[in-house]
Amino acid sequence: MRAGPLPWNRGDMDAVWVWRGLAGGGLIGLSASVLWLLNGHVAGISGIVNTLAETKVRSERSWRAVFVAGLVLGGVLASAWFSDGLSAPMPSWPMAAGAGVLVGVGTRLANGCTSGHGVCGLSRFSGRSLAATLTFIGTGALTVFLLRAFGGGAS
């Protein structure tokens, strides 16, 4: 079932993705809400992972370790019904390494990523997060444009 020949849907997105997108996004929003209302922490994955990897303080490490374990387990469980989630083609090794550096350095400098700025920050109407989100979507789009124009697509 296709979403119709609308001019904005040039990628020919299946209509099912409207529901998967909203449902998946809703779960992400719910997760961030649980973390915020219960524990007062921002669900910014780059920050959570970095602190988990670097902190010497046990109380800072414990809940983050549990969160990350839940993250992986939640993905595994969901992939039982949505098998495309964990079996999608991954970037080639050089691409993965290069992208990893850019994501690691960039999110550290920006103090956030798609979840921290894009979800949590925008939900707070943060001007800083709006600037960040528009910027990373912008350079992301430029990158894909150049890849498609000259690279013939990644992986």
Binding site: L27, S62, T143
Partner: protein, 157 residues
């Protein structure tokens, strides 16, 4: 710093629940599929709007929760609301976001999905996450060194 008096078991349960929901959300929404991410970023070409619904759905829910939290003095399990302290839009934020965006466009993965796809067992995902963590750590060290050097210079006669 976590409130040392906050209930550790309840905190862990909350964190675990949060993690499960987040991971499931990432898989269901398509965020763990690089081709979906790149399709969304392909505004000029075969644009796939899917991820627009992901961000929309997430913000719709979390914005409500955030408003609710404004009426509360503290998180339900104790401690304090860790509101981000930084408010300036500076070069560091913009440069970092720009670099992150390039990496996201190249690999089609941001931190959350990258961690989740470790479960897929691919060497590529492991390489991405390892490099991401190491690069971030190194960047942190360089930033700390620069901050230390700046404060040293400002106190020198």
């Amino acid at each position: 710093m976590s409130d040392p008096h906050a209930r550790p078991i309840a905190t862990a349960v909350g964190a675990g629940l949060g993690g499960l929901l987040f991971g499931a959300g990432l898989v269901i929404s398509g965020m763990t599929m690089p081709s979906k991410v790149q399709g969304f970023l392909d505004f000029a070409g075969a644009w796939d709007p899917s991820l627009m619904f992901v961000m929309g759905g997430a913000i719709a829910v979390h914005a409500v929760a955030y408003r609710i939290s404004l009426g509360r003095g503290a998180p339900l399990l104790g401690g304090v609301f860790r509101r981000p302290a930084l408010t300036k839009i500076d070069l560091r934020l913009l440069a970092g976001s720009a670099l992150f965006g390039v990496g996201w466009g190249l690999g089609g993965l941001c931190p959350g999905p990258a961690v989740v796809t470790l479960a897929g067992g691919t060497a590529s995902a492991l390489l991405f996450v390892g490099v991401m963590i190491a690069s971030s750590w190194l960047t942190g060290r360089l930033l700390d060194a620069r901050r230390a050097r700046n404060s040293l210079e400002s106190t020198s006669p």
